[in-house]
């Protein structure tokens, strides 16, 4: 219809209004920067926005209604099979690597060089060649220089979309050559509302929104990931029991120490992070900030484990947890580090 719409765009993005507005205007006006840098915590929606921007650039529809989401180009960008939109990430690097066993911890100079020669080929179907570069924080030092070359003199049809976690951690040379788009976590009600729209029950939606702390993409992922949610529930239940009973805590850290010795260090670290989360919740509750509690589903059990938790005790418990994380990182014997942690926790029956 010929009437102008009140909304300037139809991007299927939840929140991030000003970022989307800026990108949608760029598409509609045709004034596209040669490089954009999206920063924000993992799971906040950086990739979704970058991919939607790529869609909007190559979409077959009229400028005003891009991305239409239904044309062949939009669909294939989503599938990752569109020839003029390339994605580079640690994951893609591993998939195209011949040495599957190699440690895939940084994006190598070869990967960036390959990307560079790939974007030097002119577009196949659209007017643009869009390259989405994820994990820019993990680009190796040599590869930064190669990336810089591409950023300095890209062919006119190239749009580079860089994705990183922390803006400040990137080299100034990269930062200064990109239009920066910072993505902040969304508010909890917005995330919860979106989950409810997708058919999640009120209570569960609220819990997932709290657990993911405004990272909408992570929330949507978690919503459908029953296995992870189940594991989380079990870990939390165990954590509550540990905090409520020193004997359980001692038995449990003995198991964790074994797990740690068998090499599953990340798992142990996650368990300690979870305990820290529980102590933090207790602290917030006792300090009169119940609305900021993350593990809302167990806060009742936590508080009832002892009638009068004292702030100073909780603080000591938190310090002990952080000390344990540090001790483990400097190779203190795991059993000793973990025992020391729980021994310093306040005993629920013997407080005040």
């Amino acid at each position: 219809m010929g009437t102008s719409t009140t909304q300037v765009h139809n991007w299927p993005i939840i929140g991030h209004e000003s970022a989307v507005d800026q990108l949608a205007r760029a598409v509609q006006s045709g004034r596209i920067n040669h490089a954009y840098l999206f920063t924000g915590p993992d799971g906040v929606g950086r990739r979704t926005i970058a991919r939607t921007f790529a869609r909007a650039l190559v979409c077959d529809a009229e400028l005003e209604s891009r991305p239409c989401g239904t044309c062949s180009a939009c669909r294939r960008v989503g599938e990752g099979s569109y020839p003029d939109v390339t994605t580079v990430s640690l994951e893609s690097q591993l998939a195209s690597s011949e040495r599957k066993d190699s440690r895939n911890t940084v994006i190598s100079i070869e990967t960036i060089r390959e990307l560079r020669s790939s974007v030097s080929l002119r577009p196949m179907e659209s007017d643009w060649r869009v390259a989405i570069i994820e994990d820019v924080d993990r680009v190796s030092r040599d590869a930064y220089d190669a990336l810089l070359k591409t950023l300095e003199e890209p062919p006119s049809y190239v749009v580079l979309l860089l994705i990183a976690t922390e803006f400040a951690a990137l080299p100034e040379t990269i930062r200064s050559r990109c239009r920066h788009i910072s993505l902040e976590p969304l508010s909890r009600p917005v995330v919860a509302e979106e989950l409810r729209k997708r058919g999640v029950a009120d209570e569960q939606a609220d819990l997932i929104a709290r657990l993911t702390r405004g990272r909408i993409a992570r929330a949507i992922e978690l919503m459908a990931d029953e296995e992870t949610l189940e594991q989380r529930n079990e870990s939390v239940k165990r954590g509550v029991e540990m905090i409520g009973d020193p004997l359980v805590a001692l038995a449990e850290v003995r198991r964790l120490a074994d797990v740690y010795r068998r090499g599953q260090r990340d798992h142990v670290q996650q368990e300690i992070d979870l305990l820290i989360g529980l102590w933090r919740d207790l602290l917030l509750h006792v300090a009169g900030r119940p609305d900021d509690v993350t593990n809302i589903d167990v806060i009742g059990e936590l508080t009832s484990a002892g009638p009068d938790w004292r702030l100073a005790d909780i603080q000591r418990a938190l310090e002990a947890c952080y000390q344990a994380l540090h001790d483990l990182s400097v190779n203190v014997q795991p059993r000793l580090a973990l025992n020391t942690m729980v021994i310093q926790w306040p005993e629920p029956g013997n407080r005040g």
Binding site: Y82, L121, R122
Partner: protein, 399 residues
């Protein structure tokens, strides 16, 4: 007339009869697959790019594959009852068809289930397919769009004489390409990697488009040369209006490559216009000597030295000594007859560059033109002005 509702939303044609039937000759299918599978992506993460697209039309079967840099398609005659399309794994289909006897191959394509049934002599197979929706849209040359036409043998020879000189690393993308200059009915190819330059021109059969220059990835051009090897028909070339792709068609084969963006260096400036010493040497003797020297040069940075010495008189034209030495391995020298104009001179080249160029020249004699030991040397076929090769010398001691 009664209206039959589609039995499934996936069936696009001929409702009520979802299976597309088709038959073609094993020999033709195998040849088409061998061409098309050259464009199949080897390391892509996208399953559909490891597949070959099969598409039936009135009386033909079109096969196509792409790795998003090049695309190759081939059309073979086939008997079919209705149009249909699918994609199946290229390696599996190619190897299966290659193993079949030379007989008629019957296909049955179940468009709903994306499954392809094949039958030939006593063998049959079912191959699972993937929807064609994810397969890239490939432009094709339409009649009247042609930029130029050229004899396939000429194009093949030109590519063979030029493309090897392109850079193989990714440090300067434009040097990984071959410059193709269409000008006044002539095609000139040029490639350079910073150490050598190869330039070859030839007459086009016909130039219908405007004069223009494009840069084609060397790999792509070599692939094109390979697939037109058994073609008799003139190669039609078309550069898309936005100069993003080069398409080629010869007979039943179509080829597409993306073009490289960037300015190719002005190669004409690099070719030395004068010389101090010119040696005309029998190509085969020179190549054999260079190959021998290369054996010894291996452990000394591939340095192969050429010393030319003019003769005393008409009966003794002169000699070119091709030598190499490595402190740990040993040394060798070949004395090759040569007719020398100008002064005694010497130059050293990378042995591989020398064998590369001598291996692609077709004439009996080659001319080596030098100005000094530190200036670029030029190698040309004697009696052919269309081919020029320039090599930067390697620096050697004054001994």
């Amino acid at each position: 007339m009664c209206y039959n509702p589609p039995s499934s939303k996936y069936v696009r044609t001929n409702e009520g009869n979802p299976a597309v039937k088709l038959s073609c000759k094993q020999e033709e299918l195998q040849r088409a697959l061998s061409h098309v599978s050259r464009a199949v992506s080897r390391k892509s993460t996208l399953p559909v790019l490891a597949n070959v697209l099969l598409k039936t039309d009135d009386s033909s079967l079109k096969l196509a594959a792409t790795n998003l840099e090049i695309a190759i398609s081939a059309t073979i005659p086939a008997e079919t009852d209705q149009p249909g399309e699918t994609t199946v794994r290229a390696d599996l289909l190619t190897e299966f068809v290659a193993s079949l006897p030379n007989d008629s191959v019957k296909f049955e394509l179940d468009t709903a289930g994306q499954s392809l049934a094949l039958e030939c002599a006593r063998s049959k197979a079912h191959i699972k397919g993937l929807n064609t929706d994810d397969f890239p849209e490939l432009p094709a040359i339409e009649d009247g769009q042609v930029t130029a036409t050229i004899d396939p043998r000429v194009l093949r020879e030109m590519v063979g004489q030029v493309a090897f000189a392109a850079a193989t690393d990714d440090s300067r993308p434009v040097l990984a390409g071959v410059l193709c200059e269409f000008q006044g009915g002539k095609l000139t190819l040029a490639a350079a990697d910073g150490f050598r330059l190869s330039v070859r021109s030839a007459d086009l059969t016909e130039q219908t488009g405007e004069d223009m220059s494009i840069v084609v990835p060397a790999r792509s051009l070599q692939e094109l040369a390979r697939i037109i090897a058994d073609q008799e028909e003139a190669v039609q070339l078309w550069v898309t209006p936005n100069q993003s792709q080069l398409l080629a068609r010869s007979g039943s084969i179509e080829f597409l490559t993306r073009l490289i963006d960037g300015h190719f260096p002005d190669f004409r400036q690099i070719i030395p216009q004068e010389w101090e010493t010119r040696a005309v040497i029998g190509r085969e003797d020179f190549l054999a000597a260079a190959r021998r020297a290369k054996l010894f040069a291996q452990s000394n940075n591939d340095i192969v030295k050429i010393q030319v010495q003019p003769g005393e008189d008409e009966l003794d034209p002169g000699i070119a000594r091709v030598s190499a030495q490595a402190a740990e391995t040993g040394d060798n020298e070949d004395a090759v007859e040569a007719s020398i104009e100008g002064n005694e001179s010497q130059i050293a080249f990378n042995g591989r560059y020398l064998t590369d160029i001598l291996g692609v020249i077709r004439t009996g004699d080659v001319a080596l033109e030098m100005t000094s030991a530190n200036a670029a040397g030029v190698i040309r076929p004697v009696g052919d002005t269309e081919f020029t090769h320039v090599i930067m010398p390697m620096v050697i001691g004054s001994s």
